[in-house]
């Protein structure tokens, strides 16, 4: 059964409970540390060296680290304190000193109006309690001409596929609120006065089922149940989401990801 959508406060608590004990796992996670979208985000932003960047929900700090060599200052923000400490340790170990760390909520960014050149948010917006408030807050903090770059799970236009993906993502991670479609991102950005310039798919490798479920400490019983549920799905859905089984257990499943870039006029 799909869990009910929790309240704003409950989502914040879930996110912190989910990520605080797993902070180091997100620093070392191959999915988060080595995605090709990191270089793509930098390429799309085209920084010239003078920019101030805010990386919202920095997690293991990978996006902040990707931008640090190309801009003047990166502010890495996250709701979870231990994630920030883990990110700082990781980034400082790479020798970058132009990264600052701030604990903040995505929906209430602590930045003055028109103060930032670039705002990034990678593999995080699907956790936000109020994604519209986040986009509004980001738009207010951007200077005219500034960019908001989102890299995240992307919802699907086909309702059956979308519901299937939502089910397995939320089963594995109860703090997964929603993967939004490109059309929804266009709506959020448009309402905040941002013009969407890029919507592009980010074809990622399939999740390696064991490490994907272990990172969020799913119990063995839940992993079995999720695996059985995926294997019992109709063939067209198993094919669409790249479900691969070995010895009666799922070993891989595929999510959908994409990049959205919007600019403030």
């Amino acid at each position: 059964m799909i869990p009910e959508t929790p309240t704003h406060a409950a989502i914040k608590s879930l996110v912190q409970a989910q990520f605080a004990p797993a902070a180091q796992a997100y620093v070392t996670s191959a999915t988060h540390a080595y995605g090709v979208d990191l270089a793509r985000l930098v390429a799309l932003a085209k920084p010239r060296g003078h920019e101030i960047v805010l990386d919202v929900a920095t997690g293991g700090g990978h996006t902040a680290l990707a931008f640090a060599p190309h801009v003047r200052l990166v502010v890495a923000s996250d709701l979870t304190f231990s994630m920030l400490q883990a990110a700082r340790q990781h980034i400082q170990a790479q020798g970058f000193q132009n990264v600052a760390y701030v604990r903040a909520e995505a929906e209430q960014l602590p930045c003055p109006p028109a103060s930032l050149d670039i705002i990034t948010c990678r593999v995080a917006a699907h956790h936000f309690a109020d994604v519209c408030a986040f986009v509004q807050s980001a738009a207010a903090a951007l200077r005219p001409g500034g960019q908001l770059l989102i890299s995240d799970h992307i919802g699907l236009d086909d309702p059956e596929q979308d519901a299937f993906m939502d089910r397995f993502e939320r089963w594995r991670d109860p703090s997964h609120v929603r993967a939004y479609t490109y059309a929804e991102w266009r709506d959020f950005c448009g309402a905040a006065g941002l013009q969407v310039e890029v919507c592009e798919d980010d074809p990622r490798e399939a999740y390696e089922f064991d490490s994907w479920t272990a990172r969020l400490r799913m119990s063995e019983a839940e992993r079995h149940a999720l695996s059985d549920w995926l294997l019992a799905a109709p063939a067209h859905l198993r094919e669409r989401f790249g479900v691969v089984a070995q010895d009666g257990r799922v070993v891989a499943v595929q999510g959908t990801f994409g990049i959205v870039v919007a600019r403030k006029g």
Binding site: V75, Q85, Y101, E105, Q108, P110, P112, A140
Partner: protein, 111 residues
């Protein structure tokens, strides 16, 4: 009778002790920002750079904040319009609205 005076004496000493403790506690709370320096004390490294400070705002009203150090050497980011105080922990500003509200100090408000 002698025991009664002894008990009263002890009670008086305890009472005076409590009063002194409360006075000291109140004084320390009142004077928490007496020593708030505009710049770092000699040899003391501030954890928030001027550039970072310039792009931080109170999440409540998005207005500017000041970096103050209290009498115990703890740093706070303070909004003098509403008295909200955001703590700096392990060099990381905690810019959560509920933290600002929780640590609000109306004596810091400048009209």
């Amino acid at each position: 009778m002698k025991n009664l005076w002894r008990v009263l004496g002890i009670a008086a000493v305890v009472g005076v002790g409590i009063m002194i403790y409360r006075m000291i506690k109140q004084y320390r709370e009142d004077s928490v920002f007496d020593l708030a320096p505009a710049a770092a004390a000699p040899g003391q490294k501030r954890s928030i750079s001027p550039e970072l400070l310039s792009i931080l705002a109170d999440p409540a009203d998005k207005g500017p904040i000041e970096l103050l150090t209290d009498g115990q050497g703890k740093e706070w980011l303070v909004n003098r319009r509403n008295g909200y105080r955001y703590p700096v922990e392990d060099g990381i500003p905690i810019m959560l609205l509920e933290e600002g509200e929780k640590n609000k100090d109306e004596s810091l408000i400048q009209k």
